[in-house]
């Protein structure tokens, strides 16, 4: 039923070596014999056993897409789903496959059965503890980090331009719309992404001589959460200096719409209102809009709202949300591109690959 290489070779009256060469289209084999072998292979519907090929060549053609999260959503997440798609398509173009592997961040020793010696490289898509990273390093498995960067040699980092996107949005709010009193609403800032967005928020104020919105009546949430604050070295790597946190970012637990709604309700009740809100994510923006709407005010007339991410649903809000367009698909593509680079040249030095963001102005600002 299943034809093996030896079968094809025997039928063609050649050795396994020749058959192998013919199938690999090696120039070392005579055209005539090659054609005959290929013909027979086709006839018998021969497909090489990729596993055996992999152990022989020490190259599996599989890339790991690893997420360190304690539970789903993994790819049901609006960012990682499209990112996986980008990775899949780019991998496909180069005849690579992708193996998805969630990993519990609590398991610092990375004991995944399969992934260890069977993978040509790995993409780490979430904030990943250093232990598994070192594990990969020890085993000389090329790796690419997404949306995180760790000061270290010989790594590639894929970074979305969080800072640039947020800065462009602030410019839009301040220059084009004339806002001078802008609130920032976010979950914990220990996630590098949110941190960078907030840094841009701060810098924009400085740049345009504005005062940061400060509302002492709103209790400030847990600024950094369980994770450590991104350190100076990391920020320097990303072209950012460390800033003192000024003002009162409205901090909420998680980045859910519900929590944002509650926080903004509270803000509205204090009477000290900003004219615009920069939300750390579209979900947060949605919650903010709901709160404003419930308070009998209008977006953007009374308070403008801008988001970040550009989820598919954000265009369907009423009014449609002005937001920073992220491109997770491009992130996935970039990750695979860089990983393949790293595979073909393992000694390549550390580098950061930036993926652009841009604002899309709709009706909420």
């Amino acid at each position: 039923m299943k034809a093996r290489l030896s079968d094809i070779a025997q039928i063609a009256g050649v050795s396994k070596a020749t058959a192998s060469r013919a199938l690999a289209n090696s120039p070392l084999v005579r055209e005539e014999t090659k054609e005959r072998i290929l013909q027979i292979a086709k006839e018998y519907n021969y497909q090489p056993n990729a596993l055996a090929q992999a152990v022989a060549t020490k190259r599996s053609g599989i890339l790991g897409f690893c997420m360190h999260k304690s539970g789903s959503p993994y790819f049901g997440h609006s960012f990682f789903g499209p990112m996986l798609d980008g990775a899949i398509e780019e991998a496909r173009r180069h005849n690579y496959h992708i193996l998805v592997a969630p990993a519990d961040p609590k398991n610092t020793t990375f004991d995944e059965h399969f992934i260890q010696d069977s993978i040509d490289g790995v993409i780490l898509a979430t904030f990943t503890p250093v232990e598994p990273i070192n594990e990969f390093r020890k085993r000389r498995i090329p790796l690419v980090l997404v949306n995180d960067a760790i000061p270290s040699p010989n790594n590639t980092f894929i970074m979305q331009d969080e800072y640039g996107g947020a800065m462009a949005m602030m410019r839009h709010l301040i220059v084009e719309r004339g806002h001078r009193k802008i609130a920032f609403i976010s979950g914990r800032l220990s996630h590098l992404s949110y941190h960078l967005r907030y840094l841009a928020y701060l810098d924009a104020h400085r740049q345009y001589g504005l005062q940061v919105y400060n509302n002492p009546d709103i209790p400030m949430g847990n600024l950094w959460g369980d994770f450590p604050r991104p350190d100076a070295e990391k920020l320097a790597m990303l072209g950012q200096r460390v800033q003192e946190i000024e003002g009162t970012p409205i901090l909420i637990k998680g980045n859910g719409a519900q929590q944002a709604r509650d926080a903004v309700c509270q803000m509205l009740s204090t009477g000290d209102l900003p004219t615009a809100i920069l939300a750390a994510t579209d979900s947060v923006a949605l919650g903010a809009m709901e709160a404003i709407w419930e308070a009998g005010m209008e977006v953007p007339k009374d308070i403008a709202v801008a988001g970040f991410d550009d989820l598919p649903m954000s265009a369907t809000f009423s009014p449609p949300l002005t937001t920073v367009h992220a491109n997770p698909f491009a992130m996935g593509e970039a990750a695979v591109q860089e990983l393949l680079q790293l595979i073909s040249n393992p000694e390549q030095e550390s580098r950061i690959r930036w993926v652009d963001t841009h604002i899309v102005v709709r009706k909420s600002t």
Copy 2:
């Protein structure tokens, strides 16, 4: 650096065979030696080469998750993302990994490099041509089809209860809300899922003695699209008889919100209005709601709207959408469960595994 089995064996002063047995926790090896070997393995951070294991055992521990689509979104899709998550989690519980593999539906011969002999089983998540299916069969690779069913022996099908969900929604509309004039809006009905939803729509009318909404002023789109209409045998398998298509379902190209919006605008302009709309998907429902809103009417006061899928965003519509809750995550789990069954018992007879749906009543009806 990388310790192999032979290294461990040599250091422990035993043969590879014994070492292998010890690591597999075989009872054939003395406790004492076993412990020593395990100790050494740990010390040298030994990890077996899964690839070599796979070729030796003819079992890779990898499940293929295959999507026949001509382009993305693959897992950026709101249904397949969560479904993959379900599959991942269930696979993980049984120490399996998942390899994602898109495949162009135009390539009828399924010539994926890796997937052929390296995979213990495969999940086909989209409407899949029969050729690749037969290819898998020939190679005796267990397979599970999701949301499709092909009359054939020795296959497992995971079906979402489309019919039951739509029927429950119709009951809600008719019995609880008193509607008697209900329009159905959908993309092409050749997709089995939409077909079954429409069948329930039809049956409900019969069951409650209602007349199907018929609006001859709206041009009926392409009823079946490029795909063949689900045949009698398939429908019988799913407990459905073939029905004559009555009435005029509003058919649109694709299931996008934009197209739905246009279609409903047109419907509204005819003056012959239903009191409720059953949309084939939440996106369609969104488009319908926008059209109604634009025409200066209110949901649900003037026209009620019900959807199908329960996307995360549907709860954020204004008003929040009443819809049929689908559970792609559970579909993924079920698919892996059935696939593992099939792997351990390849001769198992064909069967259908139903995954429940239920309606969630919010504010749009």
